[in-house]
Symmetry: C2
Subunit: 218 residues, 2 copies
DNA sequence: AAATCATTCCAATAACTATTGGAATGTAAG
DNA sequence: CTTACATTCCAATAGTTATTGGAATGATTT
């Protein structure tokens, strides 16, 4: 049964191609960015704070593992996830990491804002309240990302416009801010700003990918 | 905002610890084995066709990523998955690999047995038929693995005892054999043996981990 | 057609990971 | 209490992967 061994090795090796992609912090960050919608190499490099060359090299890995697709748009090359299942796997991986790694839990606690009891943490209640206008769900990501996909009833004010556009937000209702996911700090910053300005505000850890995955699992 | 960059790097680095575990073929094989129940280092090394030392080194990685727990049992040390979510992630990873990688699809086709139309491929129907005794669901893994967990209504005959124990199987009903999962070749071998002996038989690609995950998702 | 721009390819080096041999640890059995 | 056994720890080497600089590609603009 020597052949069986070879066959198995081959199979696991193929699966490991996918695992390898998820083994580098910067690739994970790129995946999370791509979960927000398609982006050019330059944008990705900028958002992940790496050189364009390095981003290109990492994206090449993603491409070779068939996890992303590219499309030329004029001068630029756009990357997008090849399948929603890639976003789901990203969510599964970081969720397991959060469950198992104490170091990660501690690091996340540090960036958490004080919870606010007036705001529900469960999905269904939040949606119901947003529908009735009892809370404002606020997407603080860049506009393009909001346009690509957003939570139900969410309103878009990118973080860097928030200070100027405060007037658009009602002062009498709580604001639930969200961004790209638990490792994106924009929502945290938004909440801090809003609280300083006297708003009742709360940070939603989930981003669109996390929300979608939770929704499709019910 | 220099601190934000550092914080993010730290977070993704933690998640990558989990990803790294899934980036080595041998570690994946060990995870799949551990999905079948707890096992000693020696057993794991033997089943994965690697040296005990190498197995120990890989298991150390799993332990450091908090994905497995150990317990001393006399002379031996037993490893087990720390959480069902680890098995789920293994299933998610190999499922995505099967969806995206053509090389893997081709390799799996080679080891697939001819399908048999009499046997349903969907879970609910299979269970219903097994309950009524219209098919025999046969677990061909070693007995301990069957005892740790098995599919509903499954009967246990380990592959290496199958030839001698053929008499236990009814000749008039189809036999659906399964083993550890899609990369385990035992069920395929069982089906080939059974067909040679005149039985109607079919190979179920899913193992217990795949079945459980599919069940909990409905 | 030349210049510009975004991106990739190639090659080199630095940093990490896998694998193996030998020594150490901790348990069990004589 | 000595020996045997299962496993891990440590150190060394071979093999991969990350990262960067410079050249090449392919599309747009002048």
């Amino acid at each position: 049964m020597k052949g069986a061994r070879k066959t198995k090795d081959l199979l696991y090796e193929q699966v490991a191609r996918i695992g390898k992609v998820f083994s580098s912090p910067k690739r994970l960050e790129l995946i999370e960015l791509l979960c927000q919608g398609e982006k050019t190499v330059e944008t990705l490099a900028l958002e992940a704070s790496i050189s364009v060359k390095l981003a290109s090299a990492h994206l090449r890995e993603l491409r070779m593992a068939q996890l992303v697709e590219t499309e030329r748009q004029g001068k630029n090359i756009c990357y997008r996830l090849a399948d929603k299942a890639v976003a789901d796997l990203w969510v599964s991986v970081h969720t397991l990491a959060e469950e198992r790694l104490i170091e990660l839990q501690l690091a996340l606690q540090k960036i958490a804002t004080q919870p606010d009891d007036l705001i529900p943490s469960d999905r269904d209640t939040l949606i119901k309240m947003a529908r009735r206008g009892e809370v404002v769900v606020l997407d603080v990501r860049p506009t393009e990302e909001y346009l690509a996909a957003h939570l139900p009833f969410a309103r878009s004010i990118p973080l860097d416009e928030l200070r100027q556009r405060l007037a658009e937000l009602p002062e009498d209702r709580p604001i639930v801010a969200y961004c790209r996911g638990p490792y994106c700090l924009m929502a945290k910053d938004a909440v801090e700003l809003l609280r300083k300005e006297g708003y009742k505000s709360e940070h939603l850890r989930a981003g669109v990918a996390e929300w979608d995955m939770a929704a499709s699992r019910q």
